[in-house]
Symmetry: C2
Subunit: 875 residues, 2 copies
C-alpha cells in the first residue's frame, strides 16, 4: 500500500484518500497552476495509525523519499542553514471540518535555519518572528503545552521593552523571547525543543493524525453525522513568503464580485506581507485592481489563474494567493460565498458563457436565499439599536412613526406620511389602518393572527406576538423594558426576522433583476408543478402575474368581507335572526362581491382563478363582546333605548355564536350547509362577474372551491346548489357559464374518504395549514406561543410543521388522498394552497407525489417556481 | 305453476312465496293449532298480475277450487243464505309493511247472506252492522270511494235517530244506512254494489294485488330499502265470531308477563265480543285468569296453545284469539314486545327450561334497552309537567329543590336534603356542590361540558345546555318562557332524555336482577373483548367492579386535581413562575395524589388500572379572567396592595395561558414535555402507592398512560422519565415496582405513525372522543351546539359521530394504527377508552378489528359486556 502522493501525482477527485484539501492541491497542480509543491499523506495512513497506535511500517520512508524529491525540485533542503526548506503540515479530511484539527506552519526552523531564512529574506526580524511563532505553535499542537504560558513570556518582554504591539518588538527582543520559549519547553517537558527538522516533521504528522480524535473533532463529527473511521490526510507543503520585499505580496480574490455578481476579479492584497497580516488588519489592504499597475505581470498571471480556476471548477472561486518575489502561488481555492443577488447573476452569466447548463444554474440556487431578493431588507451595512424581537409574521422591512390607532394611521398614511400601526392585536376594524401603514407591530397574536394574515396578504412587513412591547393605548406609548417609546417615534420593523429597531434604519430595495427573470424562465421549462398564487384582490393578482404565477390557487372571499364598507353589511347579515333579514343583507353584498370577482378574474384573465366560498366562523366578523358590553352600558347611561336594544341584540347574537374552539367550529362548508343562502349569493356574484367578462370578450377561468369538506355529502349538496345558481344566471344572461368545482382537503377525514369525495370534485386543493393543525391536534397560534419553541429547541420535531410540511404524518394523509382520489377520478387536478405551497422542501414533496400545482403568496411565487424546477431536476 | 296453497299445505318457512302472514298461518296450521281455515295466493301470482296487468291464467280456477274445499271443511258456503261462509282477504308481503296495503273483512255478505248471518248469530243488529262495515270497507278499498262520504251518511242517520254513538243505532237504523250506502255506490260508480260473493272475492284479490303499488307502499319500500319486485301474497281466511253469545269471546294474551317477564300467561279478553270491541275500549276487558273459572275448558286450550306456540317459536308470544261458541281459534301470533327487564328475565328462563341456548339469549337483548335498567328512571306511568328540554348529558332521574350555588347545595345536601344545583355552567369550584346535589341543570355547555363530564363520572343525572332556562343568580330564580321558578321549587331532571319537569315526578329504581347478572355471566364466556371501566375514584372503581369491569381502562388524574382541597395547591403550582415555586407546590400535591392512586388501585386490586397522566390545559384549573379582574378592582378599591399584587399576578399568568383553541392547545404530553416535573410527581405518587399496596400483600396492576402523543419522541422521552422515577422509588422502597406504559392514540398523526410509537408502547388506548374531534375537525361542544343537529336532521351524517364511532373516517385511522402498531410490536395491547367504549355499534367495530378491550363509564359496563358478547357471537 502506498501512503504518500506528491500533489502532481494525486487524483483530484479522490477526496476519500487525499482529503478535500489534498485533492484540491492535486487538482490545481495537475492543471498547471502555480501551487507551492508538496505531498499528501493519505487518510489510509491515518486509519492505519489509529489501528496500530503507531506510525505504520514504511510510512516515514515514503515521507523522506517525497521530501527529498521536494528538496530537489525547490533547490532547498530541510535543515539546510543556507537554503532552508520550510513546510506547513496541515490536516485535510475527506469532509471539511473547518478548524477542528491541527496545523503547523514554518516547520523546519531551528537555531541554524532561522539564520538562513534571515539571510534569504534579508529580514532578520521576520525570520526570528517566524521562529518564535513556530515554537509556540509546535509546542501547543504537538507537545500539548498551553498557549497562555507563551503569551505571558511575550507580554513580559514587551513590557520590558516598553512597547504594546508585537510588531514593535525588535529582533533582539525576539531573540530573548525565543530563548525564554525554549527554556519553558525544557522546563515543562523535560526535553529540549526539537532542533532536528526531520524529527519536527514526524512529530507534526503524528500530531495531525492524533488530532482526528481530539474531543472537539469527535463532537463535530457526531453533530454533523460524519463517520469516525474516515481519518484525515496530512498535507506537507513548502512554505512561500509574501513578505520578501516589495515584489512579494499576499491576498484574497473572488473571480467575480460576490455582492453583485458582476464579472471581473474582485479582492484585495498587501505588498510585503503574510496572510496573517491581512487578517490582523494592521495595514489596510489595497484593491486588487491596484495590482494591475503595481505588478502588471503578476496581475496578468492572477487574472489567468482566476479564469482557469473558475472554468475548471465551473463556479465563482474564492482564491488565496501569495506572490513571492514576483512569483505567484495559489494556496487555496474554493467556491466563493455570495449574496442571493450575486448567486443569480453569476449562474446566469456562467450559462451565457457556456460554462454551466441551465439546469445547473437552477440547481445551484438556494430558494430561501433567493426569497430575500423579493422583500425590502435592512441594509446589511447598517448599524441600529434593537428594541425588541417578536414573531417574523410577514417579511420585509419598513420604517415609520408609531401610531396607536387605525383611523389615525389611515389619515396620516393617506397624507403621505410613513407610519407603523402598533396595536395589542388587530381586528377587522383595523384593516383601513393596516392598508395605510408601512407595517404592523402587535404585542399579541401568532403567525396566523389577524395582523399576520392581513399583512402577508398585502405583502407588508409585520411583527406579531412581540410580548416585550407593553402598550398603553390610553397613554399612547409603549414600553420595552424600562424604556418608553412615545407616539410619533420613528421605528423600523424587519418582518423577516421579527426585529423592532429604533429610528429609521436604511433599507435596500428588492429587485427582480433581468438575470433573475431569465433564470426563472429557464426554471419554468423544467417544472412539472405549475405555480399559482394565493390572491384576494386584483392588486394581489396583478402582483402574482408579475412574479410569474399562472393562476390564482386560493382567493379567500372573507378578506373581501372585511373591507370597511362591507363589514357593517356583513354584520347585518350575520346578526339577522330571520331568513328575510339575512336575504336583505345578502342582496346588498351581492353587487360588492360581484365587483370583487370581476376585478380578480380580469387581472388573471385567461388563467384559472380558484375562489373559495366563505370559510371563517361568522363571529370573526362581529365586534368584540367586551366592546359591545361597554357600548351597551354607555347607551344605557345615555338613556338611548334604541341603541341599547341594538347592542343587546348584538350581544345576544355574538354570545350565541361564541365558540370554545373556533378552529374546529362552525365554519367552511358547515356555513354553506346551514345557511345555503350565503354560498348561493357568492356563487351568483361569481357567475354574474363571469358573464360580464365574457360579454367584454375576456376569458375568465372560474374555479369554485368549497372549504372544509369532511363528508362526501357536503360536497355533493354544495355542488348541486352551485350548479343550480349557475344554471339560473346562465339563463338570465343568455350564455353558458362554464366553471369547475372542487374542494379543499383540510381535515383528516377528507383525506380518508377522498375516494368518495373525488367523485364530485374536479380538483382537490390541500389546505395544509388546517390539515397540519388537525392532524397534529395543534392550534397553530397556541402551539407556536406555548410549546412548539420547546419542541424545536429540544429536537422533538425537526422543523416547524407549519413551515415545512410534515411528510410522515400530514404527508401520508395527502399521499393517500391523492392516490385514492385519482383512482376514483383520473381527471382530478391536485394542488396545495397552504403556506407550505411556498416552502421549497414542501414543494419537493408535492412534486414527488405528482401534484399538478402549488399555490402560494405572490411574493413567494418566484421561489416556488425555482423550487418546483429543482424538484423536477433532482428526480 | 301453482298459485294457491291451503294453510295446511303451505311451508311455514317460505315467506318469500307465502308472505309473512301466510307463512305464519301455514306454520300454525301445520303444528295443529286451531287456525280458522283458509288459503294463501302466492306472491308469484301478484308478480304475474303486475306484469300482465290482469289476473294470470288459471289463478281464479285455483281459487274456486280451494274455496270449494274450504266450504266443504266448514260446512258453510260463500253466498249461502242459510250457512253463509264469510272470509277476510288480507295482504301479506314477504317483508312486513304494516298498514301499507289493503284488507277486506266480512267478505261474502249481501242482502241474502246477511239474513243467514243474523239467524246464525241470533243477532240481527250485529249482522247488519257487519254488512254496513263490509260495504264501506269494500267500496273504499276495492272501488276507491272516499270514506268520508260513508261517514256522512252514518252521521245523518245517527242525527235523525237522535243518538251520538254508532253502537246506539238500532238494527232498523242500520238497515237505512245500508240502503243509503248502496244508493251512494250506485250513484258514484254507475253500478250496483256487487251482490255476488264470488265477484266480491275476485275484486278483493285484485285490489290487494293493486295495493302493492299504491303510493304509500312505494314510499315505504323506498325508505326501508325493500325491493319493488317482491309482490304481496293474499290470504283468504274464513271469518270466526267471538260475539256469538256467552260461549264466545275474543282476546289477546302474552305467553309471559311482558312487563316483568314472570312466567304464566298474561292478557285480557271480552265475552261475546269482536276484536274491534277490545280496541274500542267500550267494555272493560277481563283478566285472562278469569277465564279459568268462566270457560275452564277454553282456558285450558288457551294455555296449551300458548305453551305450544312459545315452544314452537322459542320466544314469548303475543297471541290474538277468538272463541266461537267454545271453540278456540288462533288468529295471529308474533314475538311479544316487552320491557328490558322482561326481556332479560324471559331469555334467562327460556335458557333454563332448555328452549333456547345461552347464545340466543344474549343475542336477543337490545343493549340500548338493557342500558335503561341501570339508571333511575321516571316512572312510565307518571304524569308530569314538562318545563324545558336540554341535552341529555348524564342519564338517570332525580328530584330536588332548586339551589343556585355550590356552597348552599353542599350545606343542604349534607344535611340530607335533596337539591338540584342549577347554574349557567359549572366550574371546578362547583364540584363540592355537585357531589352533594341529586343532579345538575345548566343553561350553557354541551355533552362534554364540565357539568356533563363530572356528573357522568359520578353517575348523577345532568341536563346541560338547557337554553330555555334563563337564570338570574342575583334574583335566585330562573325563567322558562314567561314562567318564573324560584329557589327551593321542587323539580325533577331526566338526564337520559334531557327533560326538566316541575315537582317531584315518581321514579323507579334501577336493578341488576339475578337474571341479568346470570345473563352477563354467560356473555362473559363468549366475549373476546375484555370490558374495563373509566373510573377516577375508588367509589367509581368499586361500582365498576360491581358491574363486572375487569379493570380500569382510563383513570383521569385531572378530576382529582379539581377537588376543593386540591384546587388551591394546583393553582399555586400553575401560577408558579419559577421552577422552585412549582416544585414546592408539587411536593404538597404528591401525598394527595398518592392517596388517590392508593385508593383506586386497592379498589381494583388484582386488575389493571390505567392511569392517564395530566391531560387538560392548565388554564382549566385557573379562575375565570373576569372574576380575577373583579377581585383585582375590589382589592384596589380596598387599598389592599398585597392582594392586588396577587390578583395582578394571577391575571398575568391566566392571560399568558389563554388559548384560542384549548382543544388543540397546550395539554396532554405537551405539558409533560414542557413541565416534566408535573408528570414526574404523578409517576412518583403512583409508584409510592404501588409500593405501599405491595407491602400490604395486595396486587396492584399499574398501567401508566401518556396522553395526546403525536410524535414518537414524545413517548420515548416520557417513557425514560417514568422509568427513572420508577427506578428511584423502587430503590427507596427496596422492592421492584413492575408496571406497563402505553399511550393514548387521539390525534390523527398518532395513528399515522403508530408503527413507530408502538416500539415504545406496551398498549394503545384509542381516545375516540378527541380522535373524532380532530379527524372531523369538529369541536364537540361547538358542533353539537351549532351545526351537528342540522347534519343529523338532513342525514348528512347517519349518526352523531361522538356517539357512534365513524367507521369510514375515524375507524379507518384506528384500523391502520392497530395493524401497523401490532406489526411493529406483536405484544401490543389495544383498547378504546372514549365514550364510544360503551356504544354497542362501536363495540362491534372494536371486536371486528381485533382490539383487546373496551373501557367505558361504570354504568355502561353491563351493556358493553353484552355488546362484546353479541359482536363475538355474530361473527
Amino acid at each position: 500500500m502506498r501512503y504518500v502522493y506528491a500533489f502532481e501525482e494525486g487524483n483530484g477527485s479522490d477526496r476519500r484518500r487525499l482529503g478535500g484539501k489534498g485533492a484540491g492541491l492535486a487538482e490545481m497542480s495537475r492543471i498547471g497552476l502555480p501551487v507551492p509543491p508538496g505531498f499528501t499523506i493519505t487518510t489510509e495512513a491515518c486509519i492505519a495509525y489509529q489501528k496500530l497506535k503507531r506510525m505504520p511500517d514504511g510510512l516515514m520512508e515514503e515521507v523522506w523519499d517525497h521530501l527529498r524529491r521536494l528538496e530537489a525540485k525547490l533547490d532547498r533542503r530541510l535543515g539546510d542553514s543556507a537554503k532552508p526548506l520550510l513546510v506547513s503540515v496541515r490536516s485535510g479530511a475527506p469532509i471539511s471540518m473547518p478548524g477542528m484539527m491541527d496545523t503547523v506552519l514554518n516547520l523546519g526552523l531551528n537555531r541554524e535555519t532561522v539564520e538562513g531564512l534571515a539571510a534569504l529574506t534579508q529580514n532578520r526580524r521576520f525570520a526570528l518572528d517566524s521562529y518564535r511563532r513556530f515554537i509556540q505553535m509546535f509546542a501547543n499542537v504537538v507537545m500539548h503545552m498551553e498557549h497562555r504560558r507563551f503569551e505571558e513570556i511575550l507580554e513580559q518582554v514587551k513590557s520590558a521593552a516598553g512597547v504594546t504591539l508585537d510588531t514593535e518588538l525588535k529582533d533582539t527582543d525576539l531573540a530573548v523571547v525565543i530563548e525564554q520559549y525554549q527554556a519553558l519547553v525544557q522546563e515543562s517537558t523535560g526535553r529540549n525543543f526539537p532542533e532536528d527538522p526531520q524529527e519536527q516533521l514526524e512529530m507534526a504528522i503524528q500530531a495531525v493524525f492524533d488530532s482526528w480524535n481530539n474531543p472537539r473533532a469527535q463532537v463535530y463529527r457526531r453533530v454533523n453525522k460524519i463517520a469516525d473511521d474516515l481519518g484525515t490526510a496530512v498535507n506537507v507543503q513548502s512554505m512561500v513568503f509574501g513578505n520578501m520585499g516589495d515584489t512579494s505580496a499576499t491576498g484574497v480574490l473572488f473571480t467575480r464580485n460576490p455582492n453583485t455578481g458582476d464579472p471581473g476579479i474582485y479582492g484585495e492584497y498587501l505588498t510585503n506581507a503574510q496572510g496573517e497580516d491581512v487578517v490582523a488588519g494592521i495595514r489596510t489592504p489595497k484593491d486588487i485592481q491596484a495590482m494591475a499597475s503595481e505588478m502588471p505581470k503578476t496581475y496578468e498571471a492572477l487574472v489567468h489563474v482566476a479564469n482557469l480556476l473558475e472554468t475548471h471548477y465551473r463556479d465563482m472561486q474564492d482564491i488565496e494567493f501569495t506572490v513571492e518575489q514576483e512569483k505567484l502561488y495559489v494556496l487555496q481555492t474554493r467556491a466563493g460565498k455570495r449574496t442571493a443577488r450575486a448567486a443569480v447573476r453569476i449562474a446566469v452569466d456562467l450559462v451565457r458563457s457556456g460554462v454551466i447548463s441551465e439546469k445547473e444554474a437552477i440547481l445551484r440556487q438556494d430558494p430561501e436565499q433567493v426569497q430575500r431578493l423579493l422583500y425590502r431588507q435592512i441594509d446589511p451595512q447598517a448599524d441600529y439599536e434593537l428594541l425588541a424581537k417578536g414573531l417574523p409574521a410577514s417579511p420585509g422591512a419598513a420604517s415609520g412613526r408609531v401610531v396607536f390607532n387605525a383611523d389615525e394611521a389611515e389619515a396620516r398614511g393617506k397624507a403621505g406620511e410613513a407610519v407603523i400601526l402598533v396595536r395589542p392585536e388587530t381586528t377587522p376594524d383595523d384593516i383601513h389602518g393596516i392598508v395605510a401603514a408601512q407595517g404592523v407591530l402587535t404585542s399579541r397574536g401568532g403567525m396566523t393572527s389577524h395582523a399576520a394574515i392581513v399583512a402577508r396578504g398585502m405583502g407588508k412587513p409585520a411583527v406579531t406576538g412581540c410580548e416585550a412591547v407593553k402598550i398603553s393605548l390610553e397613554g399612547q406609548w409603549f414600553m420595552v423594558g424600562d424604556r418608553t417609546i412615545a407616539k410619533d417615534t420613528l421605528i423600523t420593523l424587519d418582518g423577516g426576522t421579527g426585529q423592532v429597531m429604533l429610528g429609521e434604519v436604511p433599507t435596500v430595495e428588492p429587485e427582480l433583476s433581468l438575470e433573475f427573470t431569465e433564470l426563472l424562465t429557464w426554471a419554468d421549462r423544467y417544472q412539472k408543478l405549475r405555480v399559482l398564487a394565493n390572491a384576494d384582490t386584483p392588486e394581489d393578482a396583478a402582483k402574482a402575474r408579475q412574479f410569474g404565477a399562472v393562476g390564482v390557487g386560493l382567493c379567500r372571499t372573507e378578506h373581501m368581507f372585511m373591507g370597511q364598507d362591507r363589514l357593517p353589511v356583513v354584520q347585518e347579515m350575520i346578526l339577522a335572526e330571520r331568513l328575510d333579514e339575512r336575504d336583505r343583507a345578502l342582496a346588498k353584498l351581492l353587487p360588492m362581491q360581484e365587483e370583487d370577482f370581476y376585478g380578480i378574474l380580469k387581472a388573471m384573465d385567461g388563467y384559472p382563478v380558484t375562489i373559495r366560498l366563505l370559510d371563517p366562523p361568522l363571529h370573526e366578523f362581529l365586534p368584540d363582546i367586551e366592546e359591545t358590553q361597554r357600548a351597551l352600558e354607555e347607551a344605557r347611561a345615555r338613556g338611548d333605548v334604541t341603541q341599547a336594544e341594538h347592542e343587546e341584540m348584538v350581544l345576544r347574537r355574538t354570545r350565541a355564536l361564541f365558540e370554545f374552539n373556533p378552529m374546529l367550529g362552525f365554519r367552511g362548508v358547515r356555513l354553506g350547509i346551514v345557511y345555503p343562502e350565503i354560498y348561493a349569493m357568492q356563487a351568483r356574484a361569481i357567475f354574474q362577474a363571469q358573464a360580464r367578462l365574457l360579454a367584454e370578450g375576456l376569458h375568465p377561468d372560474v374555479q369554485v372551491m368549497i372549504p372544509l369538506v369532511g363528508i362526501p355529502a357536503e360536497l355533493a349538496r354544495m355542488k348541486a346548489m352551485v350548479a343550480e345558481v349557475n344554471q339560473r344566471v346562465a339563463e338570465e344572461r343568455g350564455r353558458a357559464l362554464p366553471y369547475k368545482l372542487g374542494t379543499m382537503i383540510e381535515v383528516p377525514r377528507a383525506a380518508l374518504v377522498a375516494q368518495e369525495i373525488a367523485r364530485d370534485a374536479e380538483f382537490f386543493s390541500f389546505g395544509t395549514n388546517d390539515l397540519t393543525q388537525t392532524t397534529f391536534g395543534y392550534s397553530r397560534d397556541d402551539a407556536e406561543a406555548k410549546f412548539l419553541p420547546v419542541y424545536l429547541a429540544e429536537k422533538l420535531l425537526p422543523d416547524n410543521p407549519f413551515v415545512v410540511l410534515d411528510r410522515q404524518g400530514v404527508g401520508r394523509l395527502i399521499r393517500l388522498a391523492v392516490e385514492e382520489g385519482r383512482a376514483a377520478n383520473p381527471w382530478l387536478k391536485v394542488g396545495i394552497c397552504g403556506e407550505h405551497g411556498g416552502d421549497p422542501a414542501s414543494i419537493a414533496f408535492c412534486h414527488e407525489i405528482g401534484m399538478d400545482y402549488v399555490s402560494c403568496s405572490p411574493y413567494r411565487v418566484p421561489v416556488a417556481r425555482l423550487a418546483a424546477a429543482q424538484a423536477a431536476l433532482r428526480e
